[in-house]
Amino acid sequence: MRILTVVKQVPDSNATIKVKGDGSGIETAGLKTVCDPFDEFGVELAVQTREKRSDVDEVVVICLGDDSASGVLRTALAMGADRAIHVNDPKFESMNELFDAWVLAEAIKKDEKGFDLIVCGKHNIDLDSGAVGPALAEFLNVPHVGAVQGLEIADDGSSLTARRRIEGAEEVVECSMPALLTIEKGLVEPRYPSLPNLMKAKKKPVEVLTSADISDADASTAGTDLVSISPPPPRPECKMIEGEPEEMARELVKLLREEAKVV
C-alpha cells in the first residue's frame, strides 16, 4: 500500500494578517507560517497507518508552495514520511484552491505506481474553502470521504470504513480503495518531530516539480476565480452609557430604537 499526504504552508493562527493594498492577497513578508494543522492530522494518520500495518510500502508527502514551504515538507518528513514532492513554480502561485487541486492532481499523476490512499486536511485554515480534497479526488477520479473522524482499513487493503460526524448522528461510509480522505480534528494527535528526526529528514529525498514537468499548466479547468480580499471592517466605536441603572436602561432603549434602529 502506498499513502500520499497533502500538506500546505499557511500563516500561523496567532499571526496578524495584513491584506495587500491592492486586495490581491496578503502580506507574506515577515509572516510566521506553519504546516496547516489539519494537514498535520493527515501526516500523522499516514505515519500511524504505516506503524500499525505491515503492508505500507511508502508514505509520500506532497506540497504545492514556494521555496519557503520546504520547511513544512521537512516537518512531515521528520514526523515519518519517506520522501517528498515539492511542486514549486511561480506560475502555480494562486489564491484559487480549485487550481491548486488541479496542479496537485497533475503532479500526482506523474507518479507511476500511484497511491492507494490520499489524505488531506478537512480544510486549510488560510482560505478555508475545503475544496482541495474533494476537487483533488475528482481530478484523480477516486472516491472521497470528507471530515473523517474514525477509520478502519480492511486487512487486504482493498477498502476502508470511515466514520464522520454529521448533525446529530454519525455516518459510517464504506469505500473502495484507492480513495481520498479529508481528516477532521480528533482522529489522531500529531506527534512533535524529534530533533534527531528533523536532522535525518534533511537526507530524505525531495523531488521538485515545476511547470516544465506539468504539461500545459494553463489548461486548468478551475471554475472559480478569487477576485479580491479585503480586511474585515473596523469595529465601530463603543459607546459607554453611564448613570443610575434606570437612567442607563432608558438611554439604552432609546439608542437601540433611534440609533441602532433594532427595536
Partner: protein
C-alpha cells in the same frame, strides 16, 4: 521596508541556519502546547512536572549536543536555542534538561569509560535514567576547592563520606555525579540510587525554581567500586568543565524568560489605559520598553556569538562567564521591570513575570554567582585572582 520584529530587533534569526530555526520552532511549539498551559500551577504547588520528562526525551532534548550513545548530535547553537525556548516556559524545566545533559551526561561522555557510557547514556537520553550533579556543599558553594566530602580508597573500592546541598534533581536521580576530595585531589564518582549509606532529602519552602526538585545528598560510608569513578576527571577542572557546558546553556536560556516578560509587558502597556491614554503612549513607559528591547537584543547577539565560538571550538570559559553574568543580570532586571509595569497584576502567577523573576534568583546564583563571574572575567584581564 518590513517592520522590525520587537522580539528579534536585530534579525538574530537571520543568522541561524534552517536546521537551527527548525529546532527552535519545534521546541517553541512544544513549550507553547505542553509547558505554558500548566506550568504556573506546578510552580504554585511547588512541584516538578514529572510527566514532561518522557515527552522532553522523545523530542530528543536530553544530551542533544552530544555525539553517539543515543544522543542527538546537534550543534551547540541548537542546544542553546532549546534552552532558550524551554526556559521561556520555566527555568525549572530548563534546569532539569541542563542538569541531565550538561552536568551528568556530558561528564560521563567526556570523562567516562566505554562501559560507563554504554551503561548510562542511552537510558539517560531516553529519560529512563535521571542524573544529578553534586558539587555544592552546605559550607560555601562558591569555593568548591574547600569541599569536605571525601572519598577514601579501600582496596578496589572507594568509601565516600560527606554531604551535598542544593542539588537539582537529587531525589529524582538514579545516578549522582558526586565530586569528592581524595588523597589525589578532586575526583568524580557515579553514586547509584540504592547504594548503602546514600540518601537524599528534598529541600522545601523555596520561593524560587519551585517547579524543580532541589535536594540534599548524604553519604555515610558509601562504598563505590572503582569502576564507578570517572577516570578522565582529575582535580577541580573536572567539575568546572561540566559547569562551562551548563553555563553555556544558561546564557541562552535566560533570554527565554526575558522575552516572555517583555512580551507581556509590551502587550499590557498597549491595552492598559490610564490618565486618558494607553501606558505605551507615555514617555516614561516608552523609555522602559525601549530599554528592555535593547537589553534583549544585546543578550541575543552575545549568546549567538558565544554559540558560534563554541561550535568553532574557540570558546574560552571566561567568555562564558561574561555571558552568564550579562545575560542573567539582563534577564532578572528585565523580569522585575515587567513585574512592575504590570502593577498589581504582576504579583500573581496568572502572569509570568513574578514566576520568572523569582526563578532567576536561583539562576543568577547557581553555576557561579554574578560576583564569581565578574571576578573570573577580572582575573582574565588582570592576571590576579581576587576571590
Amino acid at each position: 521596508m518590513e517592520p522590525v520584529d520587537p522580539y528579534d530587533f536585530f534579525r538574530f534569526r537571520d543568522n541561524l541556519t534552517e536546521d537551527e530555526r527548525q529546532v527552535q520552532d519545534t521546541v517553541a511549539r512544544f513549550v507553547d502546547d505542553r509547558v505554558l498551559p500548566t506550568i504556573a500551577e506546578y510552580f504554585e504547588r511547588d512541584e516538578f512536572p514529572r510527566e514532561l520528562i518522557q515527552e522532553i526525551a522523545e523530542l530528543g532534548l536530553l544530551g542533544c549536543n552530544l555525539e553517539g550513545y543515543g544522543c542527538g548530535g546537534l550543534n551547540h547553537v541548537c542546544y542553546g536555542l532549546t534552552c532558550m525556548e524551554l526556559e521561556r516556559g520555566d527555568s525549572g524545566i530548563r534546569s532539569f534538561v541542563s542538569v541531565q545533559g550538561s552536568l551528568c551526561m556530558w561528564p560521563i561522555h567526556t570523562y567516562g569509560t566505554e562501559d560507563q557510557k554504554q551503561r548510562w547514556l542511552p537510558g539517560m537520553a531516553k529519560g529512563e535514567l535521571i542524573g544529578c550533579f553534586g558539587l555544592t556543599e552546605p559550607d560555601g558553594g562558591s569555593d568548591p576547592g574547600t569541599m569536605k566530602t571525601f572519598a577514601k580508597k579501600d582496596g578496589d573500592d572507594w568509601v565516600i563520606n560527606g554531604a551535598k546541598m542544593w542539588i537539582t534533581n537529587g531525589c529524582l536521580a538514579d545516578v549522582a555525579i558526586v565530586w569528592a576530595e581524595t588523597d589525589d585531589g578532586v575526583r568524580g564518582f557515579l553514586v547509584e540510587k540504592g547504594m548503602s549509606g546514600y540518601s537524599t532529602r528534598e529541600i522545601k519552602r523555596k520561593f524560587s525554581l519551585r517547579a524543580s526538585v532541589t535536594s540534599e545528598l548524604f553519604f555515610e560510608n558509601v562504598r563505590v567500586p572503582d569502576a564507578n569513578r570517572l577516570p578522565e576527571a582529575k582535580g577541580l577542572a573536572g567539575p568546572l568543565g561540566c559547569l562551562t557546558q551548563a553555563r553555556f546553556g544558561i546564557c541562552w536560556g535566560v533570554i527565554g524568560p526575558a522575552i516572555a516578560c517583555f512580551r507581556e509587558a509590551l502587550e499590557y502597556s498597549k491595552v492598559r489605559v490610564l490618565f486618558g491614554s494607553p501606558l505605551s503612549h507615555k514617555q516614561a513607559i516608552q523609555l522602559r520598553l525601549a530599554e528592555m528591547s535593547r537589553q534583549i537584543t544585546m543578550a541575543q547577539l552575545l549568546a549567538l556569538q558565544l554559540g558560534r565560538m563554541k561550535d568553532d571550538k574557540v570558546m574560552h570559559h571566561t567568555q562564558v562567564s561574561m555571558a552568564k553574568w550579562n545575560n542573567c543580570r539582563m534577564a532578572i532586571d528585565l523580569c522585575r521591570e515587567a513585574r512592575d509595569l504590570l502593577g498589581a497584576s504582576g504579583i500573581t502567577v496568572e502572569f509570568s513575570p513574578i514566576r520568572h523573576m523569582l526563578n532567576l534568583e536561583s539562576v543568577i546564583t547557581y553555576e557561579g554567582t554574578e560576583t564569581i563571574h565578574q571576578l573570573a572575567v577580572a582575573r582574565e584581564l588582570t592576571g590576579a585572582a581576587a576571590f
